[in-house]
C-alpha cells in the first residue's frame, strides 16, 4: 500500500507543475501587465498599491524568474496578502510582532465549502444509489422511465435558477427557511443542538442545489453499472443456485457495481467546488466560492491565484483519496498493489 501511495504521489508531480504553469499563464493573459486598467484593475487604485502588486509578483523581473518565484510561492503555500480586505493573508493566519493573529481568508472559507461539499456528496449517494438500483431492476418499466425523466430534468435544471425559485418559495412566500448567511442572530447564545439545527436550516437549500446536478449523473451511472453486472455469469450462477433475489441484488451485484462509483465521486470534486460559486454568492455563504467571486469582482489577484491553486490541490487530493479507497475496496487491485 505504501509503495502504491508513493507511486501515486510521484505521478502528481507533473500535474502540480502543470497547474503552476496554467495559473502562471492566466496571470499573464491580460493585455499589458495586470496592474494596468486594461486588465480591469481598479483605475482609482493608488500608484502605491500598483507598485505593491508588481513587487509581490516581481513583475519587473524576466518571465523565467517570475515563474520560479511563483513556484516558490506555491511550494510554501504563501499567496501574499489581499488588496481588497485590509491586507489580510490570503491562505493562512499570520502573527505580527505584537503577537496579534490575523486569520487567513482561505483558512476561514475552506471548512465551510468542504462542509457543504461533504454533505452534498452524502446526499448524492443516499438518494442516487437507491434510484439507480430501482431503475436497473425495473429496466424499461414505469419506475425506470419515471427515474430517467427525473434524471434528465435534474441534469437540465440550471442550479442558480432553482436556487432562486426555492429562495422565493421557501424564504419569501412561505418564510420557512433562512435565505442568507450561515447563522441566525443570537447564534452565540444557542445550545449545541440549537446551533446544529440553525446551521442545518441555513444549509438545506444550498446543499440540495449543489447535490442536484451530481445526483442525476450518479443515479444514471449506478443504473448502467448495475445493468452491466446483472448480465454477468456469476449473477446467473447465484440465481441458479436458488439464492433469494434480494441477496443476489444487494450482496452480489450492488457491491461490484459500487466500485467505479468511488472513482466517479472523486472525479466530481472539481465540479462541486466550482459549482459552489453560484450557490454561495446567491445565499451569501462565506465559503471559497463567494470569496472567489468577490475577488473576481474586485480584481483581487492574490486571492484569485491562491484559490485557483488550492482548488486544484484539493482536486488532486480528492482523486488520490478515491484511488486509495478503490485500491482498498477492490481485492483484485489490493492484491496487485501489495505485490
Amino acid at each position: 500500500m505504501i509503495r502504491y501511495l508513493l507511486k501515486r504521489l510521484f505521478w502528481m508531480v507533473p500535474l502540480v507543475v502543470g497547474i503552476s504553469l496554467v495559473s502562471f499563464l492566466i496571470m499573464h493573459l491580460a493585455p499589458g501587465d495586470i496592474t494596468t486598467t486594461e486588465a480591469g484593475f481598479n483605475p482609482k487604485a493608488s500608484e502605491e498599491s500598483r507598485q505593491k502588486l508588481r513587487e509581490i509578483y516581481h513583475l519587473d523581473e524576466p518571465l523565467i524568474v517570475q515563474y520560479g518565484l511563483w513556484l516558490k510561492r506555491m511550494g510554501t503555500l504563501d499567496f501574499g496578502t489581499s488588496f481588497a480586505s485590509h491586507q489580510r493573508p490570503v491562505f493562512w493566519e499570520k502573527k505580527d510582532d505584537q503577537g496579534n493573529v490575523t486569520p487567513g481568508m482561505i483558512q476561514e472559507a475552506l471548512p465551510i465549502t468542504l462542509l457543504i461539499n461533504v454533505l452534498s456528496l452524502a446526499l448524492i449517494v443516499v438518494i442516487a444509489l437507491p434510484l439507480g438500483v430501482i431503475s436497473a431492476i425495473h429496466q424499461n418499466r414505469p419506475p425506470d422511465r419515471a427515474i430517467t425523466v427525473f434524471v434528465f430534468v435534474g441534469f437540465a435544471v440550471p442550479g442558480f435558477w432553482l436556487a432562486l425559485m426555492l429562495m422565493y418559495w421557501l424564504g419569501v412566500v412561505n418564510p420557512w427557511l433562512p435565505i442568507s448567511g450561515l447563522h441566525s442572530l443570537g447564534y452565540e447564545n444557542m445550545g449545541m443542538l440549537g446551533r446544529l439545527w440553525d446551521l442545518g436550516r441555513h444549509l438545506a437549500i444550498p446543499v440540495f442545489i449543489s447535490a442536484l446536478s451530481g445526483l442525476a449523473g450518479i443515479s444514471l451511472f449506478v443504473r448502467n453499472g448495475m445493468l452491466d453486472v446483472l448480465h454477468q455469469d456469476y449473477i446467473t450462477t447465484a440465481r441458479a443456485k436458488g439464492l433469494p433475489e434480494n441477496t443476489v441484488i444487494y450482496r452480489h451485484a450492488l457491491r461490484n457495481a459500487l466500485l467505479p462509483l468511488i472513482t466517479l465521486l472523486g472525479l466530481s470534486i472539481p465540479g462541486l467546488i466550482g459549482g459552489s460559486v453560484i450557490a454561495e454568492s446567491l445565499f451569501a455563504i462565506p465559503g471559497m466560492g463567494k470569496l472567489f467571486y468577490d475577488a473576481v469582482l474586485m480584481r483581487d489577484f492574490p486571492v484569485i491565484m491562491g484559490i485557483l491553486t488550492i482548488g486544484a490541490v484539493l482536486t488532486l487530493l480528492g482523486n488520490l483519496l478515491a484511488d486509495l479507497a478503490y485500491a482498498w475496496a477492490d481485492p483484485r487491485v489490493r492484491r496487485g498493489v501489495m505485490r
Binding site: P158, F160, Y168, H231, V296, T315, N319
Partner: protein
C-alpha cells in the same frame, strides 16, 4: 440519422432543439416588440395578451428579449463547442496516432486541466479579460476540450490496431491518408454525441456566467442576464425569472436528450444491452 430519430429520446430532443432554433433564427420576424425599446409607461406588467411574458423593470417586452436572447445563448453554445471539439479532435488524434512521448505530454495536459475546478478557471480568465460575448465563447471552448481529446485518443488507439487499418498501412498508405480516410471518419460517432452534450453544458455555463454579471453584458439580452434582472424583482415579478429559467431548462434538456438518444442509437454496444 433516420435510425437515430426513431429513438424516442433523440426524437423529443431534436423536436425541442429544432423549435428553439427556429424561434432564434426568426427572432426579428416573431418578436412583437423591439427587444431594447424602453417604455416607461408599461413597467413590470404581468403576462397578458399584449405582453405574453410580461415586461421588465424598464418596460421592455420579455418575450421579444427571450427570442433575441436565444440567439446569443445558442451562438455562445455552438461556437464554444466548435472550439472545444476542434482542439479535442486535433490533440486526441495526435495523441492516439503517434503515441510515445507526445501522447504522455498531451494526456498530462488533460489531467492538469481536469484538476483545476472548471468554473474557477473560467472566472479567473474572465477576471483578467474584459467580459464580452467573444471572450466568453473562447474561454468556455478553451476549458472544455479534455473529454473530446480522451474520446478521440481512445478511438484512435483501438482503431489503429484493426485489420483494415493495418492492411492500408501495409499497402503503404501515408499518415495523413490513414488519419483522414480511416481513423477520423470511424471515430466521429462519439465526437458527435459529446459535442451535442457539450452544447447543453456550454449553454448552462454561459447562463451561469451572465447570471453572475460576468457573461454577456446588458443591454444585450441573454437568458442568463434576463434572469439576473429577475433576481432583483423576484418579490414583485415572478415572470422575469421564471421564463428564462424554463427556456434554459428546455434547451439543455433538448440537447441532453438528443445526445443520449444518439449514443443509444449509434452505439452497437448499448444497443444490444437493452435486449437481454
Amino acid at each position: 440519422m433516420n435510425r437515430a430519430l426513431r429513438n424516442p429520446l433523440a426524437f423529443w430532443g431534436f423536436a425541442i432543439i429544432a423549435s428553439v432554433l427556429v424561434m432564434a433564427l426568426l427572432a426579428p420576424v416573431l418578436a412583437p416588440y423591439d427587444p431594447d425599446a424602453i417604455d416607461v409607461k408599461s413597467i413590470l406588467i404581468p403576462p397578458s395578451a399584449t405582453h405574453w411574458m410580461g415586461t421588465d423593470g424598464l418596460g421592455r417586452d420579455v418575450f421579444s428579449r427571450m427570442l433575441f436572447g436565444a440567439r446569443i445563448s445558442l451562438l455562445v453554445g455552438f461556437v464554444a463547442v466548435g472550439i472545444a471539439t476542434l482542439i479535442g479532435v486535433v490533440l486526441g488524434a495526435i495523441s492516439g496516432y503517434y503515441r510515445g512521448w507526445i501522447d504522455v505530454v498531451i494526456m498530462r495536459m488533460v489531467d492538469v486541466m481536469l484538476s483545476i475546478p472548471t468554473f474557477f478557471l473560467i472566472l479567473a480568465v474572465i477576471a483578467f479579460l474584459t467580459p464580452s460575448i467573444w471572450n466568453i465563447m473562447i474561454v468556455i471552448g478553451l476549458t472544455s476540450w479534455m473529454g473530446v481529446t480522451r474520446l478521440v485518443r481512445a478511438e484512435f488507439l483501438s482503431l489503429r490496431e484493426r485489420e483494415f487499418v493495418l492492411a492500408s498501412a501495409t499497402l503503404g498508405a501515408r499518415d495523413y491518408r490513414l488519419i483522414f480516410r480511416h481513423l477520423l471518419p470511424n471515430s466521429l460517432t462519439p465526437v458527435i454525441v459529446s459535442s451535442v452534450l457539450g452544447v447543453a453544458s456550454a449553454v448552462l455555463v454561459e447562463s451561469g456566467l451572465s447570471f453572475l454579471g460576468l457573461g454577456v453584458q446588458p443591454p444585450q439580452a441573454s437568458w442568463g442576464n434576463i434572469l439576473t434582472e429577475g433576481k432583483e424583482y423576484i418579490q414583485f415579478a415572478w415572470w422575469l425569472s421564471f421564463f428564462p429559467g424554463m427556456a434554459i431548462l428546455l434547451t439543455v434538456l433538448g440537447y441532453n436528450l438528443l445526445g443520449e438518444g444518439l449514443r443509444d442509437a449509434l452505439d452497437p454496444r448499448t444497443n444490444g444491452k437493452g435486449k437481454n
